[in-house]
């Protein structure tokens, strides 16, 4: 499009007191040749905005560059539909973090304005990627999570397809005798109530918006959000349905108790798991499996095969409450006692009151101790051997029935379930980070998975109880609805929700190296029969990791591409003096840049040697930028991004990790250019570590100063 740029410099927020705005206006008009350059003392106010709108209406300005505050604020004010808008963060980067009225501050202001104008010149207004989509929601799993998700989505007005692998809905609740009552403050008798699962099942099966498939599984999932082609197979028949987004509520299975022989399982018939105990309770009085006699002394062993590096390393969250509930089953016989042997009792939240209420029964006994084994007592009963308990250093608790509180293993451990026909594989990647659960790091990613359009809920995501699962499913349903709606509008979802851009590769120059395909954290790129990659924009989160990966630099977004950032770097001022280094900082928009903004808000001073450029994700760092910048005489480059690794915070899951990996490759290139590898570095930072920003930058600047100025300076 034919661009007419209008540059508006705000002098408010002490900008006018710190830099020579007149000078900036002159530079913009004469050196940068910007046709319209104005300044105002309060651009975000009515008068300032009118000024801009007037220029758009009457002066033909169609590209607006606002040199004022950070792009993370006042975005509602500086919204000019139909125009391309670029924000230059003069206030944060050239005023609040610099010495006022200094030469360095003015130089910084000039550089940032120049970079902003270049960015505006190189960018274009994006159009959404429209395709034919449906908004039907697929729910995999017909347990309480799946059914709740389906009901909520149907309630919101969406068509739902529910796939259940058993021949009836209800999941594990079908096996329960009773459940814990709803938590409304302190718990009062009765402490065990009917599950009423048939009511929920009836609600689902009679809902006209929900189509239920029983004895069915997902054979394969092809396509992309909005256009998923899901093949559902049931009793030999297959059906392909068009789906908008997916809720994964495939649930769990119990830990295999045959691995707990040391606790007597498999050796004695009277040692059962908590699920098996529910089934015993459902059949009437609690009877011993071995001889059918009524059990009068039932021992519960908590954390059976859990919180144990040899079995499940985690806690399954619901088993302590379950054992307390099952103790009340035992106490339906007033002469029976229930003895709960625990490492800790975990009844989170309001369930602490359930613990208090359930415990207030003389026949429910609890003690902390380390259970070392279960042996025959010789009289038909069993001894639970326990150490380090207040009852005694080494004791044997006599019981006629032993219940092992075994844990939850998510369905994703055994089966990919989704069976995605994605080049990166049929299931969700990197589940070992979460012990097999389809989870992600909550603070950035609740219900999210590394496959766009797929949202996890219930025990497949995290161990939880019935009430929590219902809440979880509601959240996942809302996310699934959001995903279907967004892809219908052609815009992105979390974390770049409402982004209208999409990756557009210039396929003529593609060499099919497949780096983009392998590195995309979301598996958004597949390949055809010839091995040529092709994009599925519905799966894309717009992080631009593919853009950073591509050695041919063929991938671009309308307002974000390699050439744009490269040009910004190439036009930064490089001081001639040897003792005045120039360092470029690439900061990702999710944690690093906001940390810098917050440091600026606190008026912390940042070394004037740096010029900060905001990236969508460090994963979009293309190595050519390093070559470009260093060959221009820039003395060093620092990448600041979200943390990666086991407790990752990277909002695109893999971006910062990939950037570090690429940097290790570039050290070689730098060596060949006779440049020191330490000129380029990367630091992980979290958004709350803003107070460390000046120190991090100081340290890097000091290191670069130590190495000495770039030999290419002045070339």
């Amino acid at each position: 499009m034919d661009k007419k740029i209008g540059l508006y410099i705000c002098t408010g927020c002490s900008i006018g007191d710190s830099i020579d705005v007149e000078k900036s206006v002159n530079i913009a008009k004469n050196a940068l040749k910007v046709p319209v350059v104005k300044s105002h003392f309060a651009l975000c106010g009515k008068e300032g905005l009118d000024l801009i709108n007037n220029d758009i209406k009457n002066e033909g300005v169609n590209t607006v560059v606002i040199a004022a505050c950070s792009g993370r604020v006042k975005y509602e004010e500086f919204d000019f539909p139909g125009s391309l808008v670029e924000r230059v963060s003069l206030r944060e980067l050239a005023v609040w973090t610099q010495e006022p009225k200094s030469e360095e501050a003015n130089l910084a202001a000039a550089d940032y304005i120049k970079m902003g104008v270049i960015k505006a010149q190189k960018g274009d207004i994006p159009e959404p990627y429209m395709m034919e989509t449906v908004k039907t929601i697929l729910v995999i799993g017909g347990g309480i999570s799946g059914m709740t998700g389906a009901l909520r989505a149907a309630q919101a007005g969406y068509q739902v397809v529910l796939v259940e692998k058993e021949d009836r809905l209800g999941g594990f609740i079908n096996k329960l005798y009773k459940k814990v009552p709803a938590a409304t403050g302190e718990f009062k008798e009765p402490l065990i109530v009917d599950t009423d699962i048939d009511l929920t099942i009836k609600e689902v099966e009679s809902n006209p918006k929900i189509k239920v498939f029983k004895s069915a599984k997902v054979e394969k999932t092809e396509g992309q959000p909005g256009q998923f082609d899901v093949t559902i197979t049931s009793n030999g028949n297959s059906e392909v349905l068009k789906i908008g987004s997916i809720i994964l509520a495939a649930g769990w299975r119990p830990y295999d108790a045959n691995k707990l022989q040391h606790l007597g399982y498999g050796k004695s018939k009277d040692v059962v798991t908590n699920i098996e105990f529910e089934e015993i309770a459902r059949r009437g009085n609690i009877k011993r499996p071995s001889d059918g006699k009524e059990a009068k002394r039932v021992a519960f062993i908590q954390c059976a095969g859990q919180r144990d590096p040899n079995h499940l390393p985690y806690c399954s969250a619901m088993c302590c409450t379950t054992s307390l509930k099952q103790a009340k089953y035992v106490r339906q016989d007033p002469d029976a006692t229930a003895m709960i042997l625990y490492k800790d009792i975990r009844t989170p939240g309001n369930l602490e009151y359930y613990y208090k209420a359930a415990q207030n029964d003389p026949g429910v006994m609890l003690t902390k101790g380390d259970v070392t084994g279960v042996a025959e007592a010789g009289n038909g009963n069993l001894y639970v051997e326990m150490e380090n308990s207040l009852l005694g250093d080494k004791v044997k608790v006599e019981a006629d029935l032993v219940v092992l509180a075994t844990g939850i293993v998510p369905a994703t451990v055994d089966d990919p379930i989704l069976n995605l026909k994605y080049r990166q594989g049929p299931g969700l990647p990197d589940l070992e980070l979460f012990d097999g659960f389809a989870d992600s790091n909550f603070i950035c990613f609740q219900y999210e998975t590394r496959r766009t359009g797929v949202y996890a809920a219930g025990c497949v995501r995290q161990p939880m109880n019935i009430a929590e699962a219902q809440e979880d499913a509601t959240g996942a349903a809302l996310k699934a609805i959001q995903s279907a709606e967004h892809v219908a509008k052609g815009v992105a979802v979390h974390p770049r929700a409402w982004d209208v851009t999409w990756p557009d590769p210039f396929m003529q120059r593609c060499t099919s190296c497949k780096r983009c395909t392998e590195e995309c954290p979301f598996g958004a790129i597949d390949e055809d029969e010839k091995g040529t990659p092709f994009f599925k924009p519905g799966r894309c989160r717009r992080c631009a990791t593919c853009m950073g990966a591509c050695p041919e630099r063929i991938i671009s977004f309308k307002d974000y591409h390699v050439d744009m950032i490269g040009a910004m770097m190439k036009n930064v001022s490089v001081p001639e003096e040897d003792d005045r280094p120039r360092i470029i900082v690439l900061a990702c928009e999710n944690d690093a840049y906001p940390a810098i903004d917050t440091a600026a808000l606190k008026h912390m001073k940042i070394d004037p040697a740096v010029r900060i450029i905001q990236l969508r994700c460090l994963g979009s760092t293309n190595l050519v930028w390093i070559a470009d910048a260093l060959s221009r005489g820039v003395d060093g480059m620092l990448l600041l991004g979200c943390k990666f690794g086991e407790n990752y915070q990277c909002h695109f899951a893999k971006g910062s990790e990939l950037a570090e990996y690429r940097l290790s490759k570039v050290q070689e290139t730098l060596g060949r250019l006779q440049l020191e590898a330490e000129r380029v570095g990367m630091v992980q930072i979290a958004i709350d570590e803003y107070d460390t920003v000046p120190a991090i930058i100081d340290k890097f600047v000091a290191r670069v100063k130590e190495i000495g100025p770039n030999p290419f300076k002045g070339f």
Binding site: Q359, P362, L366, L390, E398
Partner: protein, 388 residues
């Protein structure tokens, strides 16, 4: 405490748990073993402290671990633990209930169960009432005018209820009975506690130290929430001591005169009762009575004041307090009414005075009075077992 054998077998006794709950430990099941009570307790030894483990033993119905346990009696019921318990489990009250059950366990005879059960109160009172009635009814003394008076026409209680043999034989038998039960009880308790344990140190030293601790009320000073108990109990304790000395002194006056022919001097009035008020024995007696009255009133008031934080106490506790109240009030009134010559009230009050004293002494091994013996035993044992 009885030492556990290796691999002790745990078989909880549900009925014992229910008994503790019925005996005043009804909040027992609220305890979740957080250990705040043992941290707050100022009298517990540092190793294997109480009352936390006692709460657990009680919840698990482990009777043998509780009744063979000196810790239960080392506790002075200062109730700091009850005040600080975050769950409202009232460990102080629970230990009080366990002490009651220990008394029941070690004192044989049917009286053990009766002393702790309000159902039997009338029966327990009926015994002394009928006994003392049997002394006066045949003589027709229900008609007060028939009772002989003193030389000066004043009321002489000894003519209403003769000292020998009625009072002295009755009370001596009651005392011997109580002592016998105590001896049996202490022996059983001591052997239960010391089973499998090494005791060291001299027994006499331990007894000496325990007695000194008791006389100074050292452990009472350690309470925080109910520290006024220290004063109240001190008064009651020394009042009882004073009354014990008084009784022996009065016996010396009577039998010194009867058997050794000693006669009254200006200071010491050997002879029959009543004795003049300026006699040092009477002075001690009246001082002790007033001290006892003050003390027991403070005890009751403190309990009422502290009950929201420290728990209200059980039937067992209050019966004991009420009996002492009754003794001191009837005692003071007996003297006052005698001197005021109001025979219609004086004789009945004196009668009840005797009944209450009998109640206290005869049932001492079964009522809360037994604490004076069991707690002392536990304190001596703790010294021997190196548990201080």
């Amino acid at each position: 405490m009885a030492e556990e054998t290796m691999e002790q077998i745990i078989k909880p006794d549900l009925n014992f748990v229910k008994d503790i709950i019925a005996s005043g430990g009804e909040s027992l099941k609220k305890c979740y073993q957080c250990s705040t009570c043992t941290v707050v307790c100022s009298v517990t030894p540092d190793e294997k402290p109480f009352p936390r483990k006692e709460m657990l033993y009680a919840q698990w119905g482990m009777k043998d671990k509780l009744i063979s346990n000196p810790d239960v009696w080392l506790c002075h019921q200062c109730s700091d633990c009850t005040a600080y318990c975050p769950r409202g489990a009232k460990p102080g009250e629970v230990l009080g209930a366990i002490r009651k059950m220990t008394i029941e366990e070690y004192s044989p005879t049917p009286f053990a169960k009766m002393a702790g059960d309000p159902k039997y109160l009338l029966v327990l009172f009926a015994i002394p009432i009928l006994l003392f009635l049997s002394y006066i009814v045949p003589k027709g003394y229900l008609d007060f005018s028939a009772i002989p008076r003193g030389e000066d026409g004043g009321i002489v209680y000894a003519k209403f209820m003769p000292i020998f043999p009625q009072i002295d034989v009755t009370f001596s038998l009651a005392t011997f009975f109580a002592l016998a039960c105590f001896v049996i009880g202490i022996k059983k308790y001591w052997s239960a506690m010391s089973a499998g344990m090494q005791l060291k140190g001299s027994l006499t030293d331990s007894i000496k130290t325990a007695i000194i601790d008791i006389l100074t009320h050292k452990n009472f000073q350690k309470c925080t929430v109910t520290k006024d108990r220290s004063t109240a109990h001190l008064l009651v304790f020394y009042a009882f001591l004073g009354l014990a000395i008084t009784t022996s002194w009065a016996i010396a006056y009577l039998y010194g005169h009867e058997f050794f022919g000693l006669t009254a001097t200006s200071l010491f009035h050997f002879g029959e009762s009543p004795y003049p008020l300026y006699d040092p024995m009477k002075i001690l007696a009246n001082a002790s009575a007033l001290t006892l009255f003050t003390g027991i009133t403070l005890v009751a008031m403190n309990r009422a004041k502290n009950s929201p934080k420290a728990g209200g106490g059980s039937y067992f506790d209050w019966l004991f307090i009420m009996v002492i109240f009754a003794i001191v009030i009837t005692g003071i009134l007996s003297e006052v009414l005698r001197l005021a010559n109001i025979e219609g009230v004086a004789y009945p009050v004196y009668f009840m005075h005797l009944v209450f004293i009998f109640f206290l002494i005869a049932y001492a091994p079964f009522s809360k009075m037994a604490h004076m013996v069991y707690r002392t035993t536990a304190m001596v044992f703790a010294r021997q077992a190196g548990r201080e």
